[in-house]
Symmetry: C2
Subunit: 220 residues, 2 copies
């Protein structure tokens, strides 16, 4: 806890994250079009966010886990422009955005934090654009697995094995490929001994090989 806060300050900061909300698996935290009031910090559980074309094609724009923030899309137009769906039973802190704005005027450290969270999301999306625009199926899936395991590891989970919370179709939507291609690429990695897969369970047997697929050596 940073210095320079007295007890009254802490109480006010605590109030921002006071209210909580539980969301059942498969249920939306918010949907595109709904009025924006709050940001949400995930306490437990796993989410996907998505946008859709008018004719109903879905694009998964991200997968979010404990500690990550959702709802930033709603600030610009006071309405959400994407959907957030729980992929497992979840609990979030509801953080009214007007409170965040009020307090971040008083506490520069909070202000800085909010700015960094938004900037981080912009940078993440830049890297997804690179993935979707330039990479091949194997590179995309390697990038996805490495990113997922790194984030899980930062939360105290295993560096090498995990259980996917999303379907092949959702992975495919995020990575711009069809579920069959996701499945085939998983099988190919498994055949090559790079990973072990059994449905949702994944173990990364050779992280270096995966890294090499993601970062191919420039041909000299």
């Amino acid at each position: 806890m940073p210095v320079g806060f007295d007890l009254a300050d802490l109480a006010r900061l605590d109030e921002v994250v006071a209210t909580r909300r539980k969301i059942k698996q498969g249920q939306p935290l918010f949907n595109s079009g709904e009025v924006f009031t709050s940001l949400y910090a995930i306490r437990t559980g796993f989410f996907k966010t998505s946008v859709s074309t008018e004719d109903g094609r879905e694009q998964v724009t991200g997968f979010q886990m404990a500690g990550e923030i959702m709802g930033l899309d709603g600030i610009v137009n006071d309405h959400h422009s994407c959907n957030a769906i729980a992929l497992e039973d979840a609990e979030v802190c509801v953080m009214p955005f007007s409170n965040i704005e009020d307090l971040s005027r008083e506490f520069p450290i909070l202000q800085r934090h909010v700015h960094k969270i938004m900037s981080r999301e912009i940078v993440r999306e830049n890297s997804v654009m690179l993935l979707l625009g330039n990479m091949r199926a194997e590179e995309r899936l390697a990038a996805f697995l490495l990113n997922l395991v790194q984030r899980l590891h930062a939360r105290g989970f295993s560096k090498s094995e995990f259980v996917l919370r999303m379907t092949r179709e959702e992975i495919g939507s995020y990575l711009g490929m069809k579920l069959e291609t996701v499945s085939r690429t998983f099988s190919k990695f498994a055949d090559e001994g790079i990973i072990e897969v059994k449905q949702r369970y994944v173990r990364i047997a050779d992280p270096d090989a995966l890294q090499k697929i993601f970062n191919p050596q420039p041909c000299i």
Copy 2:
């Protein structure tokens, strides 16, 4: 100009945008890896931003024109993570981010503005992800042209004709397709009488047709 500001306030706000910088065509405003200090508001000219894979493939992440803000990517790590290149001679306002943070603590209207700008960028990138992940070449180019003409129109330019500032290769990089495919798709639209193209010059002859390609009717 919003109410509630006295002359002293205005002078301080004005100071944020006091310093300017000119960038020649083809030159970078900033590059990935450089230390982040400031956001930049475009006064005149046209930019592209891009990121790259380790083996040198480039992904254009956006095209920016007068009034738009660049540099948000640098906030999270105090270093830029993308490149900003002038596509024509340009001038920007250099806005030191620490000044912006200081002033936005004092002026809620500025604070709100900063938040909206960042949120808008997140929403824009969501829609690019949808484009790259789900749309076909014709839909991508239609979306691109409609977006470009809409932004130019908002700045007082023609609703139907304009001169592209970027090459076919740069358009292709942004849209996740090769320059030949961009060229062919331009030619196809021209053959169908939807647009008129002569190198960089484009006139949108049938905006409704373009809109229909972008928003295909869901098959009932």
